[in-house]
């Protein structure tokens, strides 16, 4: 009888030890809204685990032990654990790209139609944030590129104000040649990099 009680006690203590007070963290890699699957490395003091397959999952059960081998998260598990998070995710933003003639703040003709559909989207969605970033190609000095890309973004914000969009919801930034759509070497004239990107949320 005594042995029986101590066996229960040992089992109890052991289960305390493994569930313990340790934090228990789970990381799942999932496809993004475009269906693309990225990569993530989960690291503890005890080791690391690479996630690079859709719904790859690893569990951390303590700083000193390595993350668990990768398993595949079932749709049921994801629904049970993450339904509240997934329900609050914002609807994907809409992105519009407007192009400019070289060294000017004048939209190319095709972009005027894009501007009109952008205004329609802002109004339809009741957008709460519109981020406007100006970009240049890699010809000219950094200073000039910064200046022209800011001017382009600013002009678009003014055009939006004229269409009745509140400036309170707009942010205007200049990326110069720092974030090219078509990567080029310095000095290359590339019309597709002379642009303003507008993200509507």
């Amino acid at each position: 009888m005594k042995r029986y009680v101590s066996a229960i006690l040992v089992t109890f203590l052991f289960s305390l030890l493994i569930s313990g007070c340790a934090h228990h963290s789970i990381v799942v890699l999932t496809p993004d809204p475009n269906g693309h699957v990225g990569k993530a490395e989960v690291i503890t003091d005890g080791g690391k685990q690479l996630l690079d397959k859709p719904y790859g999952m690893t569990t951390i059960s303590g700083r000193s032990s390595a993350p668990s081998p990768v398993t595949v998260a079932s749709p049921e598990y994801i629904a049970a654990t993450f339904s509240d998070v997934l329900a609050i995710e914002p609807v994907p933003a809409e992105k519009f790209i407007l192009y400019f003639n070289s060294n000017t703040v004048d939209l190319v003709p095709e972009s005027k139609a894009v501007f009109a559909s952008m205004v329609a989207s802002i109004k339809r969605r009741g957008a709460i944030a519109v981020s406007i970033s100006g970009h240049s190609d890699a010809t000219g000095s950094a200073e000039l590129n910064d200046k022209i890309s800011y001017k382009r973004a600013h002009i678009i914000s003014e055009m939006l104000v004229q269409q009745g969009v509140s400036s309170d919801i707009m942010t205007v930034t200049s990326h110069g040649k720092g974030n090219q759509l078509i990567p080029t070497a310095d000095g290359v004239s590339e019309p597709r990099n002379r642009r303003v990107e507008v993200i509507v949320r």
Partner: protein
Amino acid sequence: MRTIMLGLSLIFFALSPAVAADLQSNIIGHIQTIKGAVTIKRQGVILSASVGTLVLCKDTLQTGKAAAASVVMSDDSTLALGPNSELVLKDYMFNPKEGKFSFITRMVKGTFSYLSGIIGKLAPDSIRVEMPEGTIVVRGTKLLVSVEE
């Protein structure tokens, strides 16, 4: 809210241009969606959050029992928090002009989704998620994370 922020920054500007510049550069995102009671802890002060509330570097976001929220950062990355969750925006820098990037968050407890934005595209090595007992080096693009207390 933004008008208030702008008003505040104008007052600061009159007092000290350095402070105003600091406030401006510290705006790193906004609350996009919200459900239930969500607060932001900022320099020891607890503020209640609503749709459109601006988020600053070093803010701690907390959701209540039946609450949830999402934040959109200026680089277009998105973080969503489920109920009973706590997230610290530890470090953030998005400066494509000078090629300076950083995005470090701390998931203290709760459930989260993370979707990478422009920083993930331009400088994937600068994104890190800290958890109580480990770290995620995020090379894009979407993750779900659960941190139990």
